[in-house]
Symmetry: C2
Subunit: 408 residues, 2 copies
Amino acid sequence: MSVGNVIVGQSGGPTSVINSSLAGVFQTARDRGAGIIYGMKNGIAGFLEDRYINMADHIKTDLHIELLKRTPSAYLGSCRFKLPDIDDNEAIYSKIFQKLNNLEIKYFFYIGGNDSMDTIKKLSDYGAREGSDIRFMGVPKTIDNDLAETDHTPGYGSAAKFIATSMKEIIKDANVYGNQNIHVVEIMGRNAGWLTASAALAKREDCIGPDLIYLPELPFDTEKFLQKVGELRKEKKSIVVAVSEGLKLADGTYVCEQISSQAKFTDSFGHMTLGGTAQYLANLITAEYGCKSRAIDLSILQRCSSHIVSRVDITEAFVAGGHAVEAAFRGETAKMIIFNRVTNNPYQCTTEPYDINKIANIEKKVPLEWIINDGTYVSPEFISYANPLIQAELSPIMVGGLPSHMYN
Amino acid sequence: MSVGNVIVGQSGGPTSVINSSLAGVFQTARDRGAGIIYGMKNGIAGFLEDRYINMADHIKTDLHIELLKRTPSAYLGSCRFKLPDIDDNEAIYSKIFQKLNNLEIKYFFYIGGNDSMDTIKKLSDYGAREGSDIRFMGVPKTIDNDLAETDHTPGYGSAAKFIATSMKEIIKDANVYGNQNIHVVEIMGRNAGWLTASAALAKREDCIGPDLIYLPELPFDTEKFLQKVGELRKEKKSIVVAVSEGLKLADGTYVCEQISSQAKFTDSFGHMTLGGTAQYLANLITAEYGCKSRAIDLSILQRCSSHIVSRVDITEAFVAGGHAVEAAFRGETAKMIIFNRVTNNPYQCTTEPYDINKIANIEKKVPLEWIINDGTYVSPEFISYANPLIQAELSPIMVGGLPSHMYN
């Protein structure tokens, strides 16, 4: 006899390893005696439209599980859908629980970030109020690494590994002509600078690393930035700067808005968005110093470059999914799996189910004491923290020269 | 007794495997009895300033050779320097040959593209005129794949592999929300569309591939483009378009100039360059259809992502360097190593030293008959041609979670 039916969904922005958590949920639930394991298409939004699959119809072999782990984007599709407050719209909760009961669901897993944990919180709140015995568990996921209470989040390590690898390669390339040039590399993370900070991991015995790193935790001062670049120009030819897409001026406006607001007046189309933070700063540098400056936007490659994942990260993503299942099956609910670091060196971490109310909707930023050199670099403490998370590799399954992925 | 001293230089834009050719020259020359093997710093420009190294002082072990192969950018540094016509400035040639003779150089190798082969041509012309016994050999290199006479060029296969891999990952990511969105991916290659065409290699059993591909070989029609996107929008939610950075309108102006020329009037700095081709087209799509459109510029990652090289490519790059040495040592001069394809399937290629006069300064474009669907895709003939070049992998040497590189 089965322990009951399971449903799992993915929500929010994808990561390179969010499907490893899905694989962890599926494999663990299957091996621990789950009944039918359903997968919501496009998260709770798709479930409300009765879009779901029987996972076993798709993940049929152990090779499928290995492929799934290595597949970028969310296999089940994702959504950006925030449930209303229970008191504002009880009907939607009643509808969701009716659908869950129709499918005889006993365990509900949601893999996601801040907003997705809000979904777990609200559904478990409603369930408790109605006396439902469905268990609700969150599995952490975000490249932004901005979830509260957990040491870090699955997805961050692989994005950081891609960023650090690309920074190493860019820094090598930037030195090729021996001429004066300045590269400004734009990195994701609107409010938290964890990803931008990971550019510093490129600093190794074989790489000098980026010259300047600007996180969104501190207000950005354009004048001081240009002055800093000007000083560096006297010392070295090639300068590489890492900037967060979310840099803001002291008045609270985004640096990238400085371009967009001009564009609104000047283009003939109305809706244009002209480049981002890096492009704006590269343009400023060229205007100020008349030297070559290039903007590089790592864009969504940061969250989908599953061909170069961190083994630590993809394994932890799998474990987080598995632990969520184990905890739910023994009765836990309204919790998210968090990571507790035991030691940095050797790196050791444990996982633990943790009260969802202390996690949902809270954003964790880079501690200000880890931002050094007048806001232009990150401290050795950050390196000690982040370096273990990018370690080791999981080879892609290469077919015909390209990484192979699960598909429907 | 040695066969004589050797000098080698790298020139033009870097590739992920240009250092594999350098390793091929060095190892082969060393093993075949060369005297001192010099490396010019920053190509012929640096040599004119007496900047060179003794390679053996740096490449000391077999592990160094393996690291060198996997190191992006040009290890010796590069230059963009075109020698004047011999009759216009004989003095510079006289100076170069005096420096070569001072170092007792007998063999001169230059790893590069069109412009670099012009250097080999002119130096060998001058040498012949002066009765010099120095042998001059070119080793092909360019991600653009636009060298004449050779089936393909080292560097292209690895760039194509990175592009196809990224396209697969981007296409997966683009489908994650199931909403209407259009991604425009900008790919290098100002005049030749070989790299942009390689986006089509992403089409596999597990990936539908890009929807539209626009090469610079044909004039770009903005109206027809928007119409095509409009038709696709009726059929599918997520659309991914690959465009060459070098797309031109029928009047000969670059598509990306349409933004820049506006910017010249609108910004307050004068020197701004606002985004590129993909950004302009993404903006157009949003303006026309009011839907989300994102530009992704693969930028220099295309030429420096040595963490995911093609084994075929990096091996051929090494062989080309080695064959240049072998040929020069037995007396050949004024030639570049070319590749002759024997069969596509199984893929077989041979190398051959070929008259430099038929190669220098000539640009090879994608055959027009390989561009199909009203200029929006590439033919199966292109796939048969390009697919063998991205096959198999050479693992990076990973240290502490990141690819390791040779450094000075």
